[in-house]
């Protein structure tokens, strides 16, 4: 629908006459005719239909309240449950890392929990367990839980947008040194995908690639 002088008109001819009359009252003489050439040009310009093929910008929708994410379901977990990383890494403060790095580590853990939920569903507690999903009222009201809620919401929104900085990883732990050497398991090996700093307890959050079972040695017959 064309706009004339900022108004929408289904009938451009009618709109042009109406807007010409309005502008003439403002810029013209007593009869509504433009008395100056610039006024005539201005009235001509503003009474032409504009933006026939360009829709006006859509209004910005109001932002979703952050807590609205919490009840959204991933697989077996809700976003609220992912915030149990607060319980997993309670009492951990940035230390030598920046607060942003600590939050980045928590977001990465949120991604790992979400990925494990998608991969294992109800078996996640057996195969990639973390702290309980329930939090105590005291912890639920703590600043660190708020940080974890933010991390869980951020991770979920990033995943909805197709962005996962961990690349689909499901495993994480903390290391007390800066080593990024692979972890040797009895039956396989696991290389480090990402390492992030956590400070006060001299811990590093480490995100791991999926473990690779070691090739079996051929048995003697």
């Amino acid at each position: 629908m064309p706009t004339i002088n900022g108004r929408y008109y289904a009938n451009p001819a009618y709109g042009s006459v109406l807007e010409r009359s309005r502008l003439g009252e403002l810029l013209g003489d007593r009869r509504g005719e433009p008395s100056q050439p610039w006024a005539a040009e201005l009235i001509d310009y503003y009474t032409q239909p504009h933006s026939v093929n360009e829709p006006p910008p859509s209004p910005t929708p109001p932002g979703m309240p952050p807590e609205a994410w919490d009840d959204m379901r991933i697989n077996k977990l809700k976003v609220r449950d992912v915030a149990n990383i607060a319980n997993e890494n309670r009492d951990v403060t940035p230390g030598k890392s920046s607060p942003e790095e600590l939050q980045q580590a928590k977001v990465a853990q949120g991604h790992a929990i979400i990925n494990a939920d998608r991969a294992f569903g109800s078996n996640r507690d057996k195969l990639a367990s973390t702290a309980p999903k329930e939090v105590t009222p005291a912890l639920g009201n703590s600043p660190q839980y708020k940080q974890a809620q933010d991390a869980a919401r951020t991770a979920f929104q990033q995943q909805l947008a197709g962005k996962d900085p961990t690349g689909g990883k499901k495993w994480f732990n903390n290391r007390s040194d800066a080593s990024t050497a692979p972890r040797h398991l009895s039956g396989g090996d696991q290389s480090v995908s990402q390492q992030m700093g956590l400070g006060s307890q001299q811990k590093y959050t480490v995100i791991y690639n999926d473990p690779v079972p070691r090739a079996k040695q051929p048995t003697k017959k």
């Binding site: 109800s122 057996k126 195969l127 990639a128 309980p132 903390n174 009895s186 079972p213």
Partner: protein, 187 residues
Amino acid sequence: MRIWRLALFLFCCAGPQMCEPAAAQQLEKGMLGQALDCAMHEEESPWVPAEFRSDGFLRFTYLYEGPKAKPGPYDYDDKLYRLYLAFWNTNRTKGEFLVLTADRTGARRWFTVSNEGHIDRSRGELTLDFFQGGVWTERHYMIRLRKMAAAEAQTVSVRDVKRTGVLCDSFLNPHPEWDTQPPPRQR
């Protein structure tokens, strides 16, 4: 000596409540033998490193926990049964930590190796470097590990760890589909 150890092991399998100072809950009959079977014969096993069984014996302590009516701050609040096992070297300065989750598929018991860790107290302090989890998980495990480290170890010959037919899964090569579609026979 070996006969005495074998007798002790069989006695424990038959009546584990008699000889498990670190066990928080009683194991069902035969469960310990099945857990050792999984530790030694699971698809990606043996989960006990060779250095801890080089003399042909397993030295281990364990703790068995089920759901708790009132979970503490470092207890799980789910319905799972967990068997914590620590396999030690001869002087008990190092060890391998395993967490097995016990479940049932129909009438058959199903164990999942849920986590794994390296125990070290060679420098006096007891430390655990484990596979999955953060600070809460570390505290949860350390509470159990301290009890197991203080308990008297049981000894069993590796040759006496028999295949029991129990289903064994692990995080290393998981089979979540067993929940709904159990395999006819694992081995």
